[in-house]
Symmetry: C2
Subunit: 343 residues, 2 copies
């Protein structure tokens, strides 16, 4: 049967001061409706039933997600510590197979916005079919809409018989010029939407990912904490997909955004005629391409451009929107009493 | 005897959202110590006793000033409505002469910052002496430190026998190029620090200022409200000083600022090595020449320049510092529910 694994971890730094460790971006209504985590579960409706959606996150975040997502209690897999994506996905896939020996798994993240849920489901369905038919680890490659340097790219290889293709190579976070070249050559964004059978994923893990495979006996023994203690954190891309030959790519033609920085709001929210996005009370005059978010006080902007202005959680942040991509460096330099936000 | 008239009116718009109609800038601790109104009274210590300091302001503001300035109750002259500077100064001078037929008057504003109080008092003393000795309306011209276009300038004329000079002409709010020419030619800022004998001021008013003189019989009849109803608002500069021939100028060599816009904070407050002024909790990184004022939330600025960021009274304002000079136009364009601040 089909299972979904929703990766919901996150450090809560990218949307500072709105996001916090206890309320990372996947809990925020960034796109305007519910949280992106809720949207992620809703998006699977008709494709995978809620009782077969597993959610991987830390304890604090799991506690926040339970009343939002309303999945069966046993479907929250609580990571004792963050260890990147390979351990989370391998664990969840292992758990799906424990419950269902014939499990096939769709992996996705809780912090995406997707423009066309129907196209998303159609693509996910195709990816699951390809995973079964060709017994490969299937990546969904999203058609790029810009030469984004913050994403990984997939260069497709030769066609398979169902429209999927092999993967020629991966290119992680290229520079701007390389990103342009990749786009021109038909490379796709590596979205993190994956599909595989549990059997194939665990077989490839055993062969290619000793960082995690060596710890699997702990899981078999029911010792999740010991599993995390014994493994070496590594991403699924570096730790498995880039190493395995049994990989394929299915093209996804839907708007997709991982809402990685404040700049993403300019892509996923309505703008005024001058390109400004204003969420919360605010007035923008003679300004263009600004992003304003206020959870309390009216913000008045006059005569500025390309500026991010945020009031949230008792902090005010003002920076060029493009600097928002380097939020972590900014936070590292802030005094803890200003940086650290409770709750 | 010597009297001081402190003009304390103000609309409270220039330092929006910090200043409000009920708390205009002269009540704010803009320079870092007490309010500029308190500083104005303190600055007269040793020159004019507190019982001979008259304060002109509207009713609401007078109520706020009484506990701050602690002058005799009868020294607060409450304007029934704002009517520019000539009516206020003529009324206060008339009132000083009513109490003291030989009154000489020093006029000043409640919203100045002055760098050197001793030099200020020495100059004010000289101006009062010149006013008596030459029976003229004496202006104090401050040596300009920049080609400010927001001030009026005084072009001095021929020397009198005590170091004062006649006034060749006034130049109100020149353009930038004219301001540079005026500075180069030795023109002085028209500070609004004036000195005159009550007799001379009222004689000149009778001759040159029909807009106010025609209403004086109401004052004589004890009808202040009728006086204000009958007069035509006009400034002392336009309505009298620029019309009268009996004017002199005394040079003031002290740092003087009327704190007319947020930009003034960059002149009167300490700056960090990058030229930023931060009042209240804030962190400024990779930014220069910014002004930050927060009455509550920490403000984090990163990678910006020449920016004014204010949080006060439940509003957040972000604009280039140079735009702060046009605050009134901005406020006129704001929705009333954001613009208008209670209290």
């Amino acid at each position: 049967m089909r299972w979904a694994v929703l990766l919901a971890g996150g450090s809560g730094t990218r949307f500072w001061p709105l996001s916090t460790p206890a309320t990372p971006k996947q809990l925020l209504p960034l796109s305007g409706a519910g949280s992106t985590a809720e949207e992620a579960v809703e998006r699977l409706t008709g494709l995978i039933p809620r009782e077969r959606i597993l959610v991987v996150a830390g304890a604090a975040l799991s506690a926040r997600l339970r009343p939002l997502l309303k999945l069966p209690p046993e479907n929250y897999l609580v990571e004792p510590r963050a260890a990147s994506t390979a351990p989370a996905l391998i664990w969840a896939t292992w758990e799906a197979r424990r419950r269902d020996p014939d499990a096939e798994v769709l992996s996705l993240h809780a912090d995406w916005t997707v423009g066309d849920a129907t196209a998303f489901r159609r693509t996910a369905d195709a990816a699951l079919n390809t995973a079964r038919r060709h017994d490969r680890l299937v990546t969904v490659g999203v058609v790029p809409s810009r030469p984004e340097t913050g994403y990984g790219y997939i260069v497709p290889g030769t066609p398979l018989d169902d429209g999927a293709r092999t993967v020629a190579r991966f290119s992680e976070k290229p520079d701007a010029s390389t990103a342009l070249d990749l786009m021109a050559a038909g490379a796709l964004w590596n979205s993190g939407l994956f599909a595989w059978t549990a059997d194939r994923l665990l077989a490839e893990t055993a062969r290619y990912t000793p960082e995690v495979a060596a710890a699997l006996p702990k899981l078999e023994a029911g010792d999740v904490s010991g599993f995390f203690d014994a493994l070496t954190p590594i991403s699924i891309d570096v730790g498995l997909l880039e190493r395995s030959g049994a990989v394929a790519v299915v093209t996804g033609a839907f708007a997709w955004d991982d809402v990685g920085t404040w700049q993403a709001l300019a892509r996923i929210r309505p703008k005024d005629p001058s390109g400004n996005v204003v969420v919360g009370p605010g007035v923008v005059q003679e300004s263009h391409d600004c992003i304003v978010w206020s959870d309390r006080d009216p913000v008045v902007l006059c005569g500025v451009q390309d500026l991010l202005v945020v009031q949230a959680n008792g902090r005010i942040l003002v920076m060029p929107t493009e600097r928002a991509a380097a939020m972590k460096q900014l936070l590292d330099a802030l005094p803890p009493e200003i940086r650290d936000i409770d709750g």
